[in-house]
């Protein structure tokens, strides 16, 4: 333990100098606090990395990609009460991850690591990733009244690429229409963005709700802008002459025009 932290300390200056370059690397690791009403401190090897970390707060750990968090503990803020004793946690060296402090299905605080889907998204679509990180049984997620994701249980996720639009989302027990345990809530799935929605809290404690984060820049532009399917008359002056041409076209080619319109 001490050796590793010593390595951290020794490389701290290097890391600090390298931080801007590392920020541009592929690693993107966010830590999200997903336990309602429970301010915490996050301790690594007995030292506080951040304190008074509140529900919904997010920390960017990307600069620590590839590092090992030695003796990671989440304690109730300002106390020694260990809520989560995660041991040594290896952070991925690259890739796009979200790590949540959340309740498991029976309400025990835990850490969950999710790999985020950053595959390219078609123009006009967005991605919805739904993660069950709440102390609650399996659920169905409905979008605009229809089941979009069924039988989702802690700590699993479901995802889909959808036409970019705002959906009215409800969460219900699997196979049931009610009770609606979360929502209905408007969820905007935006072009080229992945919206990640976490169901968090506790059904028993009445604290079920959602957290969200989004990953942008996954989209594409339209393939082409087809803005003409018939030729314009060449060599014709502008303005009124064009108007005269329309009149001439009607006079001379009226039959043809009518025939075309009847198609």
């Amino acid at each position: 333990m001490k050796k590793l932290i010593a390595v951290f300390a020794a490389t701290l200056m290097t890391l600090a100098i390298a931080a801007p370059a590392m920020a541009q690397s592929e690693a993107r690791i966010h830590l999200i606090h997903g336990i309602p009403d429970t301010p915490v401190d996050v301790i690594v090897d007995g030292e506080a990395v951040f304190t008074d970390f509140n529900f919904g707060d997010t920390q960017d750990l990307s600069s620590l990609a590839g590092a090992t968090l030695v003796g990671l503990q989440v304690v109730l803020a300002g106390t020694d009460t260990v809520a989560i004793d995660a041991g040594d946690v290896d952070l991925p060296a690259s890739g796009n991850y979200s790590i949540t402090a959340n309740l498991d299905a029976v309400g025990t605080p835990t850490i969950t690591v999710f790999a985020n889907d950053t595959a390219a998204i078609d123009a006009g679509s967005g991605r919805l990733q739904v993660r069950h990180t709440a102390a609650a049984p399996a659920v169905d997620v409905k979008a605009d009244g229809a089941v979009a994701f069924s039988n989702l249980s802690n700590p699993n996720e479901a995802k889909a690429d959808l036409p970019a639009a705002t959906y009215s989302v409800e969460v219900v027990p699997t196979g049931a229409d009610e009770p609606v345990v979360i929502g209905p809530a408007d969820i905007a799935v935006k072009d080229g963005e992945s919206l990640i929605v976490y169901a968090v809290g506790s059904l028993e404690g009445g604290s079920l709700t959602v957290l969200t984060e989004s990953i942008t820049g996954l989209g594409a532009a339209p393939e082409a802008v087809p803005t003409g399917n018939s030729p314009v008359e060449s060599g014709i002056p502008l303005g009124m002459v064009a108007g005269m041409l329309v009149i001439a076209t009607i006079a001379v080619g009226g039959g043809l025009t009518l025939a075309r319109r009847s198609n």
Binding site: L12, H30, T227, P231, G239
Partner: protein
Amino acid sequence: MRHRIAILGLATGLLLAACSSASPEAKDAAVSTPTSTEPTTTSIAAVDPTPTTTPARSPLAELVTPVGSAQYDPADHIDDRPLPTSITIEGIGITAAPVVDVGVKDNGDMEIPGADGVGWYRFNATPGEPGSAVLAAHISFDGQPGVFRYLDEASVGDRVVIQFDDGTTSEFEIIELDQYDKQELPTDRVFAKTGDPVLTLITCGGDFNRSLRSYEDNVVAYAIPIGV
């Protein structure tokens, strides 16, 4: 471990208090009992947990960055932007041509309304927002001249007026006109999601390929906001 030496007895009491105050019901109960004639342990729960130890600040603290809250905000999910309804470019004889919002066709092409309309690409900025607001119209459609029939004859400096559905208008000035082979349309620039506000007007141009019923080129005018 070296931080855990302190004040175990006190710590334990406060820890219990902290644990119970984590439950909303317990906290409410505690808050509702201060009139109790004799102090009970529940009154301790009303006191905010005080630090029992002060862990040293980890060197890692310098390397992590708060990035705001993930809490759900309904406002993030409501699109109440004023949307463009018409476009006027006096320099090329366009007066209050109707603008409609369009998306993408199944084949990936941008949707374009008929000869009389202008399509605003709804997945990009509205005119004046950061990024590129894209308005496209036909040069010619089914034998009829489109709204952007003469876009290629616009001049740098021409004014573009956009009207919005909230009654407001914004003015832009054309700063650049380009003609691109369609295979080389710079879609990263034309459909930029970020950057300074730019109004990007697109139509077709160049030779008409009768077998493909398509033009070889795209004509693009870039305009920037004025009077802001």
